[in-house]
Amino acid sequence: MNKTLKDYRTWCLLLALIAMLVLFLYPSKQQKTPTYNYTFIIDITRSMNATDYQQDNEAVSRLHFVKQTLRELLRALPCESKVGLGLFTERRSTLLFEPLEVCSAYTEIDTAIGKVDWRMAWAADSNIAKGLLSTLDMLQKSDSSVIFITDGQEAPPVNPNYQTDFSSVKGQAKGMIIGVGGLQAVPIPKFDSLGKQTGFYSHDDVPHRSSFGQSNLDPSQIKGYNARNAPFGSEAATGNEHLSALQETYLEKLAAESGLAYTRLTGLQNLNQALQNPKLATEKLVQTDIRRQPALFALLLLCLVYLPKPPKYRLLS
């Protein structure tokens, strides 16, 4: 007995068993890990069909690129994160589904994102400021961060006299505006009722100014001004509204007014980085498995028992 206790192997095995006991008694501990809850609101207005992204040496539309990047992002998000999806067009957005846990509902979210189409738009205008306000208003009560993905192309352009007032939601909403598109203006594709492309929007196809309410200019400077019949003058408006580029300064301004962050979408990496913003994360207590540590200790001790020793007695030749 005495000799058994003197043997280091006995002690190794005993300690290993104690380690296993610890393993079964304390298998996990509570750990704070950041989890994310996003509601992606995707702009599906026509300007999102403009093709100014490159993917595999092929020009792809903004919408396609957004969908592709979001689907890749879905794979990169840690489990326990939640993702909801909504669409924006006209002056408001609609929610397709409330945030779902990404690991258990991966296929469902992935399919739904893949099916997003510009033809789902229920109306054709694009008033981003109002849409953003209504979205923030709609999701104010939820604890999800609004990720508003748009190119900033207002159609028709906003009259500076009638700007959206974000003071009611400022500071309460958390989220981010993601700008998509290139900085160079490109034409917007035009489709027929069957979804086939029939060229591009031309100068005469789109309104180049809003003719709602009163002009922001001094009446004396408007040619052909008539307070009742021609508040915007008699001249036809001209502009480049048929071309579309990412309106970064405008979106940055909206972001500042509504208290959201702004970033530009260039790829998965930059989106993933931007979304890991600690402001958008919520610390959640998650049970983490810590059985590895005692198991590793036990393994080490067990190996020590069977470690080959250098031969003590040499054979004499």
């Binding site: 005495n2 589904f97 509902a105 069977y306």
Partner: protein, 326 residues
């Protein structure tokens, strides 16, 4: 049996299981000449067993550390149920009550009533695959056919956001039928249309819908949430001049559905109770035998590995005390 580990590189530790082959793990006692010791089969057997125990213990620990598990399995089973696509009307009028007013404290809106009852319905249909599509001016793809009831509930809950534009039912139906493409035909296939209005369907769409309904063998249930005072689906026109799809879209849509050639049932609900009745009917009727896939969630096997290793460690330690004392 699909086995997998979380950290594959940790499996290199399995090489450690070879250590007991090099060292018996027992105290050695000097003997003048080993050849003098007679061969003992029992001893050799015991030593061999002990080495195997040690190897298994090391392997168990390594596998536990690597996170051995059985991956998610799916098993095909035969049960009762259906593939159901919920086609929900998101037109603005759904936000009014059955009396046609904006909802106040006592009355709930048609959308709220539909949401509440559909949530219950989905909870009762455990083996079904359920998908969600919505339509207003244009169809919205919301949720593919899935057995994940949480996902369906999340989609139904999202209809709490304000409704959209007009009623364009033919495009919505087209989208709902498209859910069944590339799905095996098993059990019954149902489109459950929940709407509070109808619209005339143009001739081209009529032809296409007829063909698709026949091809995909879809059964149609229409729950018409009738607002008080508005024309119903079963009303006959009082004046023959009103007998057209423009003036009575509900009646004409109903007639079109009847002529589809596929099973069709209409319910006219004028209150949340009637809606509840209609849903209960469908719940009772649609229970044809069907193949469905049961998911067996991933099973963690590291606990088993650790338990086996701990047991073997106990054996090894116990045996230590039986070693020859000299």
């Amino acid at each position: 049996m699909n086995w997998a580990v979380n950290t594959p590189w940790a499996l290199t530790g399995l090489l450690l299981a070879l250590l007991p082959l090099l060292n018996s793990g027992m105290r050695t006692s000097p003997a003048p000449w080993t050849a003098l010791i007679p061969a003992d089969t029992l001893s050799a057997f015991v030593v061999c067993c002990l080495r195997l125990c040690a190897m298994a213990a090391i392997a168990g620990l390594v596998l536990g550390i690597a996170g051995l598990h059985r991956t998610e399995q799916s098993r095909e089973r035969i049960g009762h149920g259906a593939h159901i696509v919920l086609l929900l009307d998101r037109s603005s009028s759904m936000d009014n009550t059955f009396a046609g007013r904006a909802p106040n404290g006592s009355d709930e809106s048609k959308a709220t009533a539909a949401r509440r009852l559909l949530t219950e319905f989905v909870n009762q249909r455990q083996t079904d695959l359920i998908g969600v599509a919505e339509y207003s001016t244009s169809p919205l793809f919301v949720m593919p056919l899935t057995e994940n009831k949480n996902a369906v509930q999340a989609a139904i809950a999202a209809t709490a956001t304000p409704a959209l534009g007009f009623t364009h039912v033919s495009k919505g139906l087209g989208m709902a039928i498209s859910f069944f493409e590339q799905q095996p035909v098993t059990g019954s296939r149902i489109v459950l249309l929940v709407s509070d209005g109808a619209a005339a369907i143009d001739h081209d769409s009529e032809l296409k819908l007829r063909e698709w309904f026949r091809k995909q063998q879809v059964r149609l249930y229409w729950i018409f949430l009738r607002t008080a005072g508005s024309p119903g689906i079963f009303d006959q026109p009082e004046d023959s001049r009103d007998d057209n799809a423009g003036a009575m879209p509900e009646l004409y849509l109903h007639k079109f559905f009847q002529g589809l050639g596929s099973p069709y049932q209409a319910y006219e609900a004028e209150s949340p109770d009637a809606l509840k009745q209609a849903i209960a009917d469908i719940n009772r009727l649609e229970n044809l035998p069907m193949h469905y896939v049961e998911r067996i969630p991933r099973q963690d096997l590291s606990t088993t590995c650790y338990s086996v290793a701990a047991l073997l460690l106990l054996v090894l330690l116990g045996v230590k005390f039986f070693e020859v004392k000299r």
